[in-house]
């Protein structure tokens, strides 16, 4: 009897974890999202969470990286609840993602300067250097950041 109790004690926690994981696998196989964390809902959230794989998926699905999308407060902050994928990528310091979007032709000619100014406001020097390689952009300090935060009601 004592030996059986020892066996049960040894197997209790692993048994619970196995059941838990099996339940997740079964739920996912049936199309459910039980016990899984939230996933990005649009291309801006994907960019803000550095999910380049999802950025490519949303692009292929026709989402516009220059369009403003709603953001969950966890993506950037509770003061930035609306942004484009490009802005979200800058805010999240994702230079490789900016390059990827640039390669896909997603940065409009006129938007390059504004994006560089946002990068300067956020303090991401390598993105500033990438978007404005010849010289630092001529920006009014804080203006680009203010335009993004102004979309979120106080």
């Amino acid at each position: 009897m004592r030996g059986t109790v020892i066996c049960a004690a040894l197997a209790l926690a692993p048994g619970i974890v196995w059941l838990y994981l099996a339940a997740i696998a079964a739920a996912e196989s049936a199309g459910g999202t039980w016990l899984t964390a939230r996933t990005p809902a649009n291309i801006a959230e994907a960019a803000g969470t550095a999910r380049a794989d999802l950025v490519v998926r949303f692009l292929e699905a026709g989402q516009d990286p220059a369009r403003v999308y709603p953001l969950h407060p966890d993506v950037i902050s509770s003061t930035v609840l609306h942004a484009t994928a490009l802005e979200a990528a800058v805010w999240s310091h994702q230079r490789p993602l900016i390059e990827l979007l640039d390669r896909k032709g997603a940065i409009p000619g006129g938007g390059r300067h504004a994006l560089a100014c946002l990068a300067a406001d956020v303090g991401v020097d390598d993105i500033v250097g990438y978007l404005s390689p010849a010289a630092p952009p001529d920006c009014v300090r804080g203006e680009a950041m203010g335009q993004v935060t102004a979309r979120t009601p106080r």
Partner: protein
């Protein structure tokens, strides 16, 4: 529901509870399929897999010629089974390579059960713990986290378990044939496959008679032939210090540093690798030759969670040590039972696996020893539970149950960590595919021709569009257990 057991003639296990045995098999297969579900969340990788798949599209003859004319490694069977799956896939790479990996996990678990033979409800109750040690070992992670695009270390784990099953089985003439074929296949797949020979010989030393003396002589002949061909006509040799970086002390040394420090006499470095490889399995520290936990504790930066690996591995080693202590007299008298042989086999595999690791340390290279640790842990736990029944002191039983609960919790955390690592890897690997164009531009990934570009597009589409990343997990302790990926 009990049945006579053939092994009862040897006195190993008197009765078999059929319902308990089936329950154990059902639990184990469920655990393997669950892990398989998480494995299917991984795409075919850019690193290691894409380059290998380009090589696999060459002809069989080209593949074998290049394999027998290279420096440092002799792995034709690795390429043979990768090529077989590649050709069978008909271009449906994800389903075949990822599916084959899942099948490998299921086979491994079935062989684990064939070794530990759960035959009672008590055995079935221990099984979740045994599977937790099997899958939760840090040495196991690399066998599922990575693929080339199959994981050849996983292939070797299956060969090692199969060798043990054959060696411990009653003698049949075909065991000898299987043993020689299995050893030849394993040795020519990857260097750790040489452990299959150690398992056959080790089992024979413990009195197992699954392979005859003639079979053992044939195995010795194949081993001699392997070394003769490798170091003689093919002049392949062994990996040198410049092959790759390796952990030493509290950090990883790059190739140039290794040559600078040990180039004139690598004896100390090789000895370090052998000793730390064994310690890694027994104590969970160091990992890949780096004493990371020790450093964190010494500098006061240790998160309690990182101690789980060391504490749980040490606890299992102590459990096995207690088993050895209580069985020592019977061992000396030569009265070995199956569980004794399983624990002794772990010892042989650990020593040989550590010795093979002399050129450089990597957790996954020690995966055979890690999986045999799980076998030995199961046997030791079964034995400990039976001995507790005989104790007269209830206080000791309460203490033992409390310790068992804590040890079980620690291993449960390691199982959870493995599944979290796979889920994180599902995103990391797909990120590599999203950025592959810039990697090609930088020259980090070679895409030499149109055929290679076509394969790259196919695999990228598989990873990003056809099989998107599964959602991240929201599990208790997830943040604390998150891996470095």
């Amino acid at each position: 529901m009990t049945a006579a057991d053939p092994a009862s003639r040897t006195g190993d296990t008197p009765r078999v509870d059929v319902a308990a045995t089936w329950t154990a098999y059902a639990m184990a297969v469920a655990a393997a399929v669950t892990l398989g579900h998480f494995l299917l969340g991984l795409p075919i990788q850019v690193s290691d897999s894409f380059g290998n798949m380009l090589k696999l599209s060459s002809s069989w003859s080209e593949l074998f010629y290049s394999e027998f004319t290279q420096h440092a490694y002799l792995r034709p069977m690795m390429w043979a089974h990768l090529k077989a799956v590649h050709d069978l896939s008909g271009g449906n790479y994800f389903a075949w390579f990822r599916g084959a990996h899942v099948v490998q996990v299921v086979i491994l678990v079935l062989l684990f059960l064939a070794l530990v033979r759960p035959r009672s409800w008590r055995d079935a109750a221990i099984l979740p713990f045994g599977l937790a040690v099997l899958f939760g070992m840090h040495t196991f992670t690399g066998t599922v986290r990575e693929a080339f695009p199959l994981n050849t270390f996983m292939t070797i784990l299956i060969c090692c378990f199969a060798a043990a099953v054959i060696a411990l089985a009653p003698y049949r003439w075909w065991n000898d044939v299987l043993a020689v074929l299995l050893f030849a296949f394993a040795a020519l797949t990857v260097e750790t496959g040489l452990l299959v020979w150690v398992i056959f010989v080790g089992a024979a030393v413990t009195g197992a008679r699954g392979v005859s003396k003639l079979g053992l002589a044939a195995l010795a002949a194949v081993l001699v032939a392997y070394f003769y061909v490798r170091f003689g006509p093919l002049a392949i040799g062994t990996p040198g210090l410049m092959e790759r970086s390796s952990g030493f002390g509290f950090r990883v040394l790059e190739q140039a540093e290794l040559v600078e420090r040990f180039g004139s006499d690598p004896t100390l470095f090789y000895a370090y690798n052998v000793v730390t490889s064994a310690l890694s399995v027994l104590l969970g520290e160091p990992s890949a030759g780096v004493f990371g936990v020790t450093h964190a504790v010494a500098t006061g930066t240790a998160d309690p969670v990182i101690l789980i690996q060391v504490a749980s591995s040490t606890a299992v080693t102590l459990l096995i040590a207690v088993f050895i202590g209580t069985r020592w007299r019977r061992w000396r008298a030569g009265a070995l039972e199956r569980d004794d042989r399983l624990v002794l086999l772990f010892g042989f595999v650990l020593a040989a696996n550590a010795a093979i690791s002399y050129p450089y340390t990597k957790d996954v290279i020690m995966s055979p020893a890690g999986t045999f640790l799980a076998v030995a842990a199961f046997a030791a736990a079964r034995h400990a539970a039976n001995r507790i029944d005989q104790l007269q002191h209830p206080d000791v039983a309460v203490l033992a149950a409390s310790v068992a609960l804590l040890v079980g919790f620690a291993w449960a955390a390691r199982v959870e960590r493995l599944h979290l690592a796979l889920r994180e890897a599902a995103v990391v690997e797909r990120r590599d595919w999203a950025y592959i164009e810039s990697d090609v531009e930088r020259g980090a990934v070679k895409v030499p021709d149109a055929r290679a570009r076509s394969l790259m597009r196919t695999l990228q589409h598989d990873a990003l569009m056809r099989h998107p990343a599964p959602p991240p997990l929201d599990l208790p302790l997830a943040r604390s257990l998150a891996t470095d990926d």
